[in-house]
Amino acid sequence: MSTRRVFVLFGTLLVLWAIVAQLNHALTAIRVYLFAGALYVVAQALFQPLRTGLVISLLGGLLCDATTPVTFGTHAFLFVAAHAAVYHLRDRLPRDDAAGRIVMVLLVNLGLFLVFSFTQVHRSPAPAAIWPRLLVDLLCSQLFLALITPWFFALQHRALVLARASRENLA
Protein backbone atom coordinates (compact mmCIF):
# COMPACT_ATOMS: atom_id res chain seq x y z
CA MET A 1 0.00 0.00 0.00
CA SER A 2 1.42 3.36 -1.05
CA THR A 3 1.24 5.86 1.83
CA ARG A 4 1.82 8.76 -0.52
CA ARG A 5 -1.12 7.72 -2.67
CA VAL A 6 -3.34 7.45 0.40
CA PHE A 7 -2.36 10.95 1.52
CA VAL A 8 -2.88 12.46 -1.93
CA LEU A 9 -6.27 10.87 -2.47
CA PHE A 10 -7.39 11.71 1.07
CA GLY A 11 -6.37 15.31 0.31
CA THR A 12 -8.69 15.32 -2.69
CA LEU A 13 -11.50 13.97 -0.49
CA LEU A 14 -10.86 16.82 1.93
CA VAL A 15 -11.20 19.27 -0.99
CA LEU A 16 -14.45 17.57 -2.00
CA TRP A 17 -15.74 17.76 1.59
CA ALA A 18 -14.92 21.49 1.76
CA ILE A 19 -16.70 22.23 -1.54
CA VAL A 20 -19.82 20.25 -0.64
CA ALA A 21 -19.89 21.79 2.87
CA GLN A 22 -19.70 25.31 1.43
CA LEU A 23 -22.41 24.56 -1.11
CA ASN A 24 -24.66 23.15 1.59
CA HIS A 25 -23.92 26.22 3.72
CA ALA A 26 -25.07 28.44 0.86
CA LEU A 27 -28.16 26.33 0.15
CA THR A 28 -29.55 26.38 3.70
CA ALA A 29 -31.79 29.37 2.97
CA ILE A 30 -33.77 27.29 0.43
CA ARG A 31 -33.39 24.07 2.47
CA VAL A 32 -31.68 21.92 -0.10
CA TYR A 33 -28.94 19.49 0.94
CA LEU A 34 -26.39 17.86 -1.35
CA PHE A 35 -25.18 14.35 -0.56
CA ALA A 36 -22.07 13.28 -2.47
CA GLY A 37 -21.20 10.03 -0.70
CA ALA A 38 -20.48 8.12 -3.90
CA LEU A 39 -17.57 10.37 -4.84
CA TYR A 40 -15.76 9.28 -1.67
CA VAL A 41 -15.89 5.70 -2.91
CA VAL A 42 -16.20 5.09 -6.64
CA ALA A 43 -12.89 6.45 -7.98
CA GLN A 44 -10.88 4.44 -5.45
CA ALA A 45 -12.95 1.32 -6.02
CA LEU A 46 -12.55 1.52 -9.79
CA PHE A 47 -8.87 2.40 -10.06
CA GLN A 48 -6.97 1.65 -6.85
CA PRO A 49 -5.73 -1.65 -5.40
CA LEU A 50 -8.07 -3.18 -2.84
CA ARG A 51 -6.26 -2.22 0.37
CA THR A 52 -5.32 1.29 -0.71
CA GLY A 53 -8.82 1.98 -1.96
CA LEU A 54 -10.46 0.58 1.16
CA VAL A 55 -8.28 2.68 3.44
CA ILE A 56 -9.13 5.85 1.48
CA SER A 57 -12.86 5.06 1.50
CA LEU A 58 -12.64 4.37 5.23
CA LEU A 59 -10.88 7.69 5.83
CA GLY A 60 -13.49 9.49 3.72
CA GLY A 61 -16.24 7.85 5.75
CA LEU A 62 -14.62 8.85 9.05
CA LEU A 63 -14.31 12.41 7.73
CA CYS A 64 -18.06 12.50 7.04
CA ASP A 65 -18.83 10.80 10.37
CA ALA A 66 -16.84 13.35 12.37
CA THR A 67 -18.79 16.28 10.94
CA THR A 68 -22.29 14.85 11.20
CA PRO A 69 -24.43 13.84 14.21
CA VAL A 70 -24.56 10.13 13.41
CA THR A 71 -23.12 7.12 15.21
CA PHE A 72 -19.42 7.28 14.56
CA GLY A 73 -18.68 4.71 11.88
CA THR A 74 -21.99 4.89 9.99
CA HIS A 75 -20.58 6.60 6.88
CA ALA A 76 -17.36 4.62 7.17
CA PHE A 77 -19.23 1.31 7.14
CA LEU A 78 -21.47 2.35 4.24
CA PHE A 79 -18.54 3.63 2.19
CA VAL A 80 -16.42 0.53 2.80
CA ALA A 81 -19.38 -1.73 1.95
CA ALA A 82 -20.04 0.23 -1.26
CA HIS A 83 -16.33 0.08 -2.05
CA ALA A 84 -16.30 -3.70 -1.67
CA ALA A 85 -19.33 -4.05 -3.95
CA VAL A 86 -17.94 -1.78 -6.69
CA TYR A 87 -14.48 -3.37 -6.46
CA HIS A 88 -16.05 -6.80 -6.85
CA LEU A 89 -17.75 -5.68 -10.08
CA ARG A 90 -15.13 -3.37 -11.48
CA ASP A 91 -13.76 -5.70 -14.15
CA ARG A 92 -17.24 -5.91 -15.66
CA LEU A 93 -17.88 -2.15 -15.60
CA PRO A 94 -17.06 0.38 -18.35
CA ARG A 95 -14.62 2.28 -16.15
CA ASP A 96 -12.62 3.88 -18.98
CA ASP A 97 -15.66 5.71 -20.25
CA ALA A 98 -16.65 9.06 -18.65
CA ALA A 99 -20.37 8.36 -19.06
CA GLY A 100 -19.94 4.93 -17.48
CA ARG A 101 -18.17 6.48 -14.48
CA ILE A 102 -20.96 9.02 -14.04
CA VAL A 103 -23.60 6.28 -14.17
CA MET A 104 -21.65 4.27 -11.59
CA VAL A 105 -21.39 7.30 -9.28
CA LEU A 106 -25.11 8.03 -9.63
CA LEU A 107 -26.11 4.43 -8.90
CA VAL A 108 -23.82 4.15 -5.89
CA ASN A 109 -25.01 7.53 -4.58
CA LEU A 110 -28.62 6.45 -4.94
CA GLY A 111 -27.92 3.29 -2.94
CA LEU A 112 -25.93 5.11 -0.25
CA PHE A 113 -28.53 7.86 0.08
CA LEU A 114 -31.41 5.43 0.48
CA VAL A 115 -29.61 3.19 2.97
CA PHE A 116 -28.40 6.21 4.94
CA SER A 117 -31.93 7.68 4.94
CA PHE A 118 -33.36 4.45 6.35
CA THR A 119 -30.79 4.52 9.15
CA GLN A 120 -31.68 8.13 10.07
CA VAL A 121 -35.38 8.50 9.30
CA HIS A 122 -36.51 7.00 12.63
CA ARG A 123 -35.32 10.17 14.41
CA SER A 124 -37.96 12.28 12.68
CA PRO A 125 -41.26 12.84 14.51
CA ALA A 126 -43.05 12.26 11.17
CA PRO A 127 -40.97 9.73 9.19
CA ALA A 128 -43.42 9.54 6.29
CA ALA A 129 -43.58 13.32 5.86
CA ILE A 130 -39.81 13.61 5.54
CA TRP A 131 -39.57 11.64 2.26
CA PRO A 132 -40.63 14.46 -0.14
CA ARG A 133 -37.79 16.58 1.24
CA LEU A 134 -35.34 13.68 0.95
CA LEU A 135 -36.41 13.02 -2.65
CA VAL A 136 -35.76 16.65 -3.60
CA ASP A 137 -32.36 16.45 -1.90
CA LEU A 138 -31.60 13.22 -3.76
CA LEU A 139 -32.57 14.73 -7.11
CA CYS A 140 -30.42 17.81 -6.53
CA SER A 141 -27.53 15.62 -5.33
CA GLN A 142 -27.69 13.46 -8.45
CA LEU A 143 -27.69 16.52 -10.71
CA PHE A 144 -24.75 17.95 -8.80
CA LEU A 145 -22.84 14.66 -9.04
CA ALA A 146 -23.47 14.36 -12.77
CA LEU A 147 -21.82 17.76 -13.17
CA ILE A 148 -18.94 17.32 -10.74
CA THR A 149 -17.90 13.68 -11.32
CA PRO A 150 -15.69 14.20 -14.42
CA TRP A 151 -13.94 17.10 -12.69
CA PHE A 152 -13.37 15.13 -9.49
CA PHE A 153 -11.96 12.11 -11.30
CA ALA A 154 -9.63 14.43 -13.23
CA LEU A 155 -8.63 16.16 -9.99
CA GLN A 156 -7.68 12.85 -8.38
CA HIS A 157 -5.73 11.79 -11.46
CA ARG A 158 -3.83 15.09 -11.71
CA ALA A 159 -3.12 15.07 -7.96
CA LEU A 160 -1.62 11.58 -8.24
CA VAL A 161 0.45 12.55 -11.27
CA LEU A 162 1.72 15.73 -9.58
CA ALA A 163 2.63 13.77 -6.43
CA ARG A 164 4.22 11.06 -8.63
CA ALA A 165 1.99 8.50 -6.95
CA SER A 166 0.02 7.47 -10.04
CA ARG A 167 0.08 3.81 -10.98
CA GLU A 168 -2.91 3.39 -13.18
CA ASN A 169 -3.99 5.38 -16.19
CA LEU A 170 -7.26 7.21 -15.57
CA ALA A 171 -7.35 8.96 -18.94
Binding site: L14, W17, A18, A21, Q22, N24, H25, T28, A29, I30, R31, V32, Y33, F35, L50, R51, L54, L58, L62, L63, D65, A66, T67, T68, P69, F72, G73, A76, F77, V80, A81, H83, A84, A85, Y87, H88, F116, S117, Q120, V121, R123, S124, P125, A126, A129, I130, P132, R133, L134, V136, D137
Partner: protein, 278 residues
Protein backbone atom coordinates in the same frame (compact mmCIF):
# COMPACT_ATOMS: atom_id res chain seq x y z
CA UNK B 1 -10.57 -22.74 -8.76
CA UNK B 2 -10.95 -22.38 -4.93
CA UNK B 3 -8.26 -19.66 -5.06
CA UNK B 4 -10.21 -17.79 -7.73
CA UNK B 5 -13.38 -18.05 -5.66
CA UNK B 6 -11.58 -16.59 -2.65
CA UNK B 7 -10.12 -13.85 -4.83
CA UNK B 8 -13.64 -12.81 -5.85
CA UNK B 9 -14.80 -12.79 -2.24
CA UNK B 10 -11.69 -10.93 -1.01
CA UNK B 11 -13.34 -7.45 -0.90
CA UNK B 12 -16.15 -8.80 1.27
CA UNK B 13 -13.78 -10.76 3.53
CA UNK B 14 -11.79 -7.54 4.00
CA UNK B 15 -15.03 -5.70 4.76
CA UNK B 16 -15.91 -8.32 7.40
CA UNK B 17 -12.45 -8.05 8.97
CA UNK B 18 -12.72 -4.24 9.01
CA UNK B 19 -16.16 -4.36 10.67
CA UNK B 20 -14.95 -6.87 13.27
CA UNK B 21 -11.90 -4.70 14.00
CA UNK B 22 -14.14 -1.61 14.33
CA UNK B 23 -16.49 -3.44 16.70
CA UNK B 24 -13.72 -4.30 19.16
CA UNK B 25 -12.08 -0.88 19.00
CA UNK B 26 -12.30 0.89 22.41
CA UNK B 27 -14.82 3.75 22.65
CA UNK B 28 -12.15 6.19 23.81
CA UNK B 29 -10.17 5.58 20.64
CA UNK B 30 -13.29 6.19 18.53
CA UNK B 31 -13.99 9.46 20.38
CA UNK B 32 -10.38 10.53 19.87
CA UNK B 33 -10.57 9.68 16.15
CA UNK B 34 -13.82 11.61 15.79
CA UNK B 35 -12.38 14.67 17.51
CA UNK B 36 -9.23 14.43 15.38
CA UNK B 37 -11.16 14.31 12.11
CA UNK B 38 -13.41 17.16 13.23
CA UNK B 39 -10.44 19.34 14.14
CA UNK B 40 -8.96 18.52 10.73
CA UNK B 41 -11.97 20.11 9.05
CA UNK B 42 -12.43 23.00 11.51
CA UNK B 43 -9.77 25.29 9.95
CA UNK B 44 -11.46 24.88 6.54
CA UNK B 45 -14.81 26.07 7.94
CA UNK B 46 -13.21 28.92 9.88
CA UNK B 47 -11.14 30.18 6.95
CA UNK B 48 -14.15 29.99 4.60
CA UNK B 49 -16.18 31.93 7.16
CA UNK B 50 -13.51 34.64 7.47
CA UNK B 51 -13.31 34.90 3.68
CA UNK B 52 -17.10 35.38 3.63
CA UNK B 53 -16.77 38.13 6.24
CA UNK B 54 -14.09 39.81 4.13
CA UNK B 55 -16.33 39.68 1.07
CA UNK B 56 -19.13 41.27 3.10
CA UNK B 57 -16.75 43.94 4.36
CA UNK B 58 -15.66 44.91 0.85
CA UNK B 59 -19.26 44.85 -0.35
CA UNK B 60 -20.19 47.24 2.48
CA UNK B 61 -17.25 49.50 1.55
CA UNK B 62 -19.00 50.14 -1.74
CA UNK B 63 -21.89 51.89 0.04
CA UNK B 64 -21.94 55.66 -0.22
CA UNK B 65 -21.22 58.03 2.69
CA UNK B 66 -24.81 59.25 2.47
CA UNK B 67 -26.07 55.71 3.24
CA UNK B 68 -23.55 55.44 6.09
CA UNK B 69 -24.76 58.72 7.65
CA UNK B 70 -28.38 57.60 7.37
CA UNK B 71 -27.57 54.23 8.96
CA UNK B 72 -25.67 56.03 11.76
CA UNK B 73 -28.69 58.25 12.48
CA UNK B 74 -31.02 55.26 12.65
CA UNK B 75 -28.54 53.46 14.90
CA UNK B 76 -28.39 56.47 17.25
CA UNK B 77 -32.19 56.44 17.58
CA UNK B 78 -32.12 52.71 18.25
CA UNK B 79 -29.39 53.18 20.89
CA UNK B 80 -31.46 55.84 22.63
CA UNK B 81 -34.46 53.53 22.91
CA UNK B 82 -32.21 50.67 24.07
CA UNK B 83 -30.72 52.89 26.80
CA UNK B 84 -34.21 53.48 28.16
CA UNK B 85 -34.89 49.73 27.97
CA UNK B 86 -31.64 49.02 29.86
CA UNK B 87 -32.67 51.40 32.65
CA UNK B 88 -36.06 49.71 32.91
CA UNK B 89 -34.41 46.27 32.91
CA UNK B 90 -32.09 47.31 35.75
CA UNK B 91 -35.02 48.54 37.79
CA UNK B 92 -36.97 45.33 37.18
CA UNK B 93 -33.92 43.22 38.02
CA UNK B 94 -33.51 45.09 41.30
CA UNK B 95 -37.18 44.50 42.04
CA UNK B 96 -36.82 40.77 41.32
CA UNK B 97 -33.76 40.55 43.59
CA UNK B 98 -35.68 42.33 46.35
CA UNK B 99 -38.68 39.98 46.01
CA UNK B 100 -36.44 36.91 45.85
CA UNK B 101 -34.74 37.89 49.11
CA UNK B 102 -38.06 38.76 50.76
CA UNK B 103 -39.79 35.52 49.73
CA UNK B 104 -36.59 33.45 49.91
CA UNK B 105 -37.09 32.19 46.34
CA UNK B 106 -34.34 30.47 44.37
CA UNK B 107 -32.85 33.01 41.95
CA UNK B 108 -32.90 32.65 38.15
CA UNK B 109 -29.74 31.44 36.44
CA UNK B 110 -27.52 34.34 35.41
CA UNK B 111 -25.90 34.24 31.98
CA UNK B 112 -22.92 35.74 30.23
CA UNK B 113 -23.67 36.62 26.59
CA UNK B 114 -21.09 35.25 24.18
CA UNK B 115 -21.70 36.45 20.62
CA UNK B 116 -20.34 34.17 17.92
CA UNK B 117 -20.18 34.16 14.12
CA UNK B 118 -21.60 31.18 12.27
CA UNK B 119 -18.84 29.33 10.42
CA UNK B 120 -20.97 26.70 8.72
CA UNK B 121 -24.63 25.82 8.42
CA UNK B 122 -25.53 22.19 7.83
CA UNK B 123 -29.25 21.61 7.26
CA UNK B 124 -30.37 18.29 5.86
CA UNK B 125 -33.61 16.38 6.14
CA UNK B 126 -31.93 14.29 8.84
CA UNK B 127 -30.39 17.01 11.02
CA UNK B 128 -30.14 20.79 11.34
CA UNK B 129 -27.03 22.28 12.92
CA UNK B 130 -24.53 25.09 12.73
CA UNK B 131 -20.87 25.40 13.59
CA UNK B 132 -19.89 28.60 15.41
CA UNK B 133 -16.46 30.17 15.64
CA UNK B 134 -16.10 29.89 19.41
CA UNK B 135 -15.35 26.83 21.48
CA UNK B 136 -13.32 25.87 24.52
CA UNK B 137 -11.13 28.94 23.89
CA UNK B 138 -14.11 31.11 24.96
CA UNK B 139 -15.39 28.81 27.69
CA UNK B 140 -18.47 27.63 25.80
CA UNK B 141 -20.05 24.83 27.89
CA UNK B 142 -21.81 21.76 26.53
CA UNK B 143 -25.62 22.13 26.49
CA UNK B 144 -25.58 25.94 26.63
CA UNK B 145 -28.63 27.64 25.08
CA UNK B 146 -28.11 29.63 21.88
CA UNK B 147 -30.35 32.52 20.85
CA UNK B 148 -30.66 35.22 18.19
CA UNK B 149 -32.86 38.27 17.66
CA UNK B 150 -35.76 36.04 16.59
CA UNK B 151 -35.68 33.80 19.67
CA UNK B 152 -34.16 30.40 20.36
CA UNK B 153 -31.62 28.95 17.92
CA UNK B 154 -30.84 25.70 19.73
CA UNK B 155 -28.29 24.33 22.14
CA UNK B 156 -24.60 23.48 22.05
CA UNK B 157 -24.10 19.75 21.46
CA UNK B 158 -20.36 19.60 20.79
CA UNK B 159 -17.54 21.82 21.99
CA UNK B 160 -14.18 21.75 20.22
CA UNK B 161 -10.97 23.75 20.56
CA UNK B 162 -12.06 26.82 18.57
CA UNK B 163 -15.52 25.85 17.36
CA UNK B 164 -18.79 24.54 18.76
CA UNK B 165 -21.67 22.69 17.16
CA UNK B 166 -25.20 23.93 17.81
CA UNK B 167 -28.20 21.69 17.19
CA UNK B 168 -31.07 23.86 15.93
CA UNK B 169 -34.60 23.73 17.33
CA UNK B 170 -35.76 22.76 13.83
CA UNK B 171 -33.74 19.53 14.15
CA UNK B 172 -35.78 16.40 14.93
CA UNK B 173 -33.23 15.58 17.67
CA UNK B 174 -34.18 18.63 19.77
CA UNK B 175 -37.02 18.37 22.26
CA UNK B 176 -37.83 20.97 24.92
CA UNK B 177 -40.64 22.36 27.04
CA UNK B 178 -42.56 25.46 25.97
CA UNK B 179 -45.64 27.37 27.04
CA UNK B 180 -48.21 29.35 25.11
CA UNK B 181 -47.55 33.05 25.64
CA UNK B 182 -50.05 34.54 28.05
CA UNK B 183 -51.03 31.21 29.62
CA UNK B 184 -51.36 32.28 33.26
CA UNK B 185 -51.23 28.68 34.44
CA UNK B 186 -47.92 28.13 32.63
CA UNK B 187 -48.88 24.64 31.46
CA UNK B 188 -45.89 23.03 29.73
CA UNK B 189 -46.11 21.81 26.14
CA UNK B 190 -43.66 19.39 24.54
CA UNK B 191 -41.91 20.87 21.50
CA UNK B 192 -39.86 18.89 18.97
CA UNK B 193 -38.18 19.94 15.75
CA UNK B 194 -39.99 18.50 12.77
CA UNK B 195 -40.01 18.25 9.01
CA UNK B 196 -38.13 20.95 7.14
CA UNK B 197 -39.56 21.02 3.63
CA UNK B 198 -37.68 22.45 0.68
CA UNK B 199 -38.38 26.11 -0.21
CA UNK B 200 -40.51 26.52 2.94
CA UNK B 201 -39.93 27.75 6.50
CA UNK B 202 -38.80 25.21 9.10
CA UNK B 203 -41.42 23.61 11.27
CA UNK B 204 -41.75 21.80 14.55
CA UNK B 205 -44.44 19.85 16.32
CA UNK B 206 -46.08 20.30 19.72
CA UNK B 207 -47.66 17.65 21.90
CA UNK B 208 -49.61 17.73 25.17
CA UNK B 209 -51.24 21.04 24.23
CA UNK B 210 -54.15 21.85 26.63
CA UNK B 211 -57.57 21.45 25.05
CA UNK B 212 -58.52 25.10 25.57
CA UNK B 213 -55.65 26.30 23.37
CA UNK B 214 -57.10 27.11 19.96
CA UNK B 215 -54.76 27.85 17.08
CA UNK B 216 -55.24 28.07 13.34
CA UNK B 217 -53.34 29.68 10.45
CA UNK B 218 -55.48 32.82 10.88
CA UNK B 219 -55.26 32.85 14.69
CA UNK B 220 -51.78 31.73 15.68
CA UNK B 221 -50.39 31.38 19.18
CA UNK B 222 -46.86 32.34 20.15
CA UNK B 223 -44.87 29.52 21.76
CA UNK B 224 -42.15 30.53 24.21
CA UNK B 225 -39.70 28.66 26.39
CA UNK B 226 -41.08 27.58 29.76
CA UNK B 227 -37.86 27.80 31.75
CA UNK B 228 -38.44 24.23 32.97
CA UNK B 229 -35.38 22.05 32.87
CA UNK B 230 -33.14 24.99 33.65
CA UNK B 231 -31.44 25.14 30.23
CA UNK B 232 -33.36 27.94 28.51
CA UNK B 233 -34.51 31.05 30.38
CA UNK B 234 -38.30 31.51 30.25
CA UNK B 235 -40.04 33.68 27.69
CA UNK B 236 -37.81 33.19 24.64
CA UNK B 237 -39.66 32.76 21.33
CA UNK B 238 -39.70 29.28 19.84
CA UNK B 239 -42.21 29.88 17.05
CA UNK B 240 -45.91 30.24 16.37
CA UNK B 241 -48.43 27.43 16.71
CA UNK B 242 -50.37 27.44 13.44
CA UNK B 243 -52.40 24.25 13.89
CA UNK B 244 -53.72 22.53 17.02
CA UNK B 245 -55.91 19.47 16.65
CA UNK B 246 -57.21 16.99 19.22
CA UNK B 247 -54.87 14.04 19.67
CA UNK B 248 -56.00 10.44 19.34
CA UNK B 249 -56.21 10.06 23.15
CA UNK B 250 -58.63 13.00 23.39
CA UNK B 251 -56.89 14.37 26.48
CA UNK B 252 -54.59 16.83 24.74
CA UNK B 253 -54.02 18.45 21.38
CA UNK B 254 -51.09 18.11 18.99
CA UNK B 255 -50.06 20.79 16.59
CA UNK B 256 -47.60 22.32 14.20
CA UNK B 257 -45.23 25.17 14.92
CA UNK B 258 -43.90 27.53 12.29
CA UNK B 259 -40.32 28.53 13.12
CA UNK B 260 -38.49 31.71 12.16
CA UNK B 261 -37.37 31.66 8.52
CA UNK B 262 -34.16 33.47 9.50
CA UNK B 263 -32.92 30.23 11.08
CA UNK B 264 -31.90 29.22 7.56
CA UNK B 265 -29.58 32.17 7.05
CA UNK B 266 -28.06 32.78 10.47
CA UNK B 267 -24.73 34.57 10.46
CA UNK B 268 -24.38 35.51 14.12
CA UNK B 269 -25.80 34.00 17.30
CA UNK B 270 -25.46 34.49 21.05
CA UNK B 271 -24.50 31.70 23.41
CA UNK B 272 -25.89 32.05 26.94
CA UNK B 273 -23.12 30.85 29.21
CA UNK B 274 -24.49 30.11 32.70
CA UNK B 275 -22.42 32.06 35.23
CA UNK B 276 -22.75 29.29 37.81
CA UNK B 277 -20.68 26.93 35.63
CA UNK B 278 -17.83 29.42 35.26
Amino acid sequence: MPFKRFDQARPFVTLGVAVAAWAILPGALKSFTRATFFELTAPISIVASHVGDLQEYWALRLHSKHELIRAGTELARLNASYQVAVQQTNELRAEIDRLESLLRLPSFTQYRYEHARVARRDFSGWWQRIVIRKGRNYGIPLGAPVIFSGGVVGRVTEVHAATSVVELISSPNVRLAGVVEGDVLGRPISFQGGVNPTFAPPTGIVEFVPLDVIASPTSTKRLVTSGLGGVFPPGLTLGTITVARIASDGLFKTGEVKLDERLGSLTEVTVLVPLATE
